[in-house]
């Protein structure tokens, strides 16, 4: 008697469903587009009708919204900063939480076109994680640039001012300034490392979860996969939260401290 259910492992490479000219359209891309349509329909048909006296679903949506606001405020520890970065952090959180969970809908990932599933958990494709990580790091550099100004922003990487001031004060302070300059140069590598770290963490967790689910299903197809699915849904939401929280921390570090802004 066989209890397992053999299923093919999710390929690590993106599944290209079709091409437009030479441009590949992967199933993760289609899933993200599907999510975009879901969000748009939700916004246009439901959120638009929100009332001052909320219904049940509105209360849930508002509760989630307030929770994210609270999380961002807790991380930034500043209401103004939280307000600035809330839309991007909340988007990442909501997008990843739903993207990681949506594949649970039975049959959604079984629809095929030319033998290729047209839907796939977007985050199990490295390109999705990389795309969002890159977008986040680019956005945080833009925010940092706007917060510090052109010279100030360059100063975070090339702290020549510190070296000049240090040597003006004493030789020891000058050497400390040189160390700061070197650390600043390392920040350039740090920006790349942020992209790598964010994307690899998310992709690794989600993909490993899927592989593990298939392995569990192969060993025991009844009962246990349900438990695993519930757990991986929770993990998916958690991963979204971790990603968003990390980006929020990076944003907070990229912004000019409030004291400096006040002094100026």
């Amino acid at each position: 008697m066989k209890f397992g259910l053999e299923r093919a492992l999710t390929p690590i490479q993106p599944d290209v469903v079709f091409t437009i000219g030479n441009f590949k359209v992967a199933n993760s891309t289609l899933m993200i587009l599907f999510l975009a349509i879901v969000f748009l329909i939700f916004g246009l048909t439901y959120v638009r009708k929100f009332k001052l006296r909320p219904g049940k679903l509105q209360s849930i949506v508002e509760m989630i919204y307030e929770s994210i606001v609270g999380l961002v405020e807790q991380i930034t520890n500043n209401r103004e900063h939280a307000k600035k970065i809330f839309p991007i952090i909340a988007s990442i959180l909501v997008y990843f939480a739903i993207a990681n969970v949506i594949a649970i809908i039975p049959g959604l990932t079984d629809i095929t076109y030319n033998g290729v599933a047209i839907m796939r958990t977007p985050t199990s494709d490295f390109n999705t994680a990389l795309g969002v990580s890159l977008a986040s790091v680019v956005a945080l550099n833009i925010i940092s640039f706007r917060s510090y100004g052109f010279i100030g922003y360059l100063g975070t990487f090339f702290n020549l001012k510190g070296v000049y001031r240090g040597f003006k004060k004493s030789v020891m302070d000058g050497f400390m300034g040189l160390i700061d300059l070197f650390v600043g140069l390392l920040n350039i590598i740090g920006e790349v490392a942020k992209v790598v770290s964010l994307s690899f963490r998310l992709f690794g967790n989600v993909y490993a979860g899927q592989v593990l689910a298939i392995i569990i299903m192969g060993a025991f197809a009844y009962g246990l996969p349900v438990v695993w699915t519930v757990m991986s849904s929770f993990t998916g939401i958690l991963q979204g939260m971790v990603f968003a929280s990390l980006v929020a921390v990076y944003y907070t570090l990229a912004l000019k401290p409030v004291e400096e802004t006040t002094k100026e």
């Binding site: 390929p11 690590i12 490479q13 993106p14 290209v16 441009f23 590949k24 359209v25 992967a26 993760s28 891309t29 993200i32 587009l33 999510l35 975009a36 969000f39 748009l40 939700f42 916004g43 246009l44 959120v47 638009r48 929100f50 009332k51 001052l52 949506v61 508002e62 919204y65 307030e66 809330f86 839309p87 991007i88 909340a90 988007s91 909501v94 997008y95 977007p122 494709d125 490295f126 390109n127 999705t128 990389l130 795309g131 969002v132 890159l134 977008a135 992709f203």
Partner: protein, 167 residues
């Protein structure tokens, strides 16, 4: 680069997913977070306004209560004043009525006295005349003399004079 290729990196898919994320970001920001924030802020403003109005109403209620208390006090004092005035007026009127009644009584008594006096004088006069008549009749009987009209009148006159002197 090989490491990236091994884990499925494809710049075209990465670019497409990057753009799609930006679309999702725009949709969420414009059509979800914006309206939710707006409705929450509106509700907060409404609640704040309601609380402010409640505080205002409470203040107004306190003012109204204070005004009502003052008004009641004023009304009470006014009522007391009116009562006092009414009592004074009543007392005055009673005193006036008493005076008037007393005066009227005195006048009636005086009038009665004067009437009694008049009656007394009249009666005395009558009595004298009758007495004089009796005297004349007595004289007539004693003297056996016919007393005519003129004599009777003279005797009566003299008797009256005597009586008047004796009085």
């Amino acid at each position: 680069m090989d490491v990236l290729n091994n884990i499925g990196f494809d710049w075209q898919v990465a670019l497409a997913n990057f753009i799609n994320f930006l679309i999702i970001f725009w949709i969420l920001k414009t059509w979800v977070f914006g309206p939710v924030e707006k409705i929450i802020n509106e509700r907060k403003a409404k609640i704040a306004e309601g609380l402010e109005q409640a505080q205002e109403s409470e203040k107004e209620l306190l003012h109204a209560k204070e005004a009502a208390t003052n008004e009641i006090k004023r009304a009470k004092s006014q009522a007391n004043q009116i009562m006092a005035e009414a009592k004074d007026t009543a007392d005055n009127q009673v005193a006036h009525a008493k005076d008037k009644a007393s005066q009227e009584a005195s006048a009636i008594i005086e009038k009665a006295h004067s009437q009694i006096e008049k009656d007394r004088v009249h009666m005395e006069k009558d009595l004298y005349e009758k007495t004089a008549g009796l005297v004349a009749l007595g004289v007539q009987k004693i003297l056996h003399e016919e007393v005519d009209e003129s004599k009777n009148s003279e005797i009566s006159k003299r008797a009256l004079e005597v009586l008047a002197q004796k009085q």
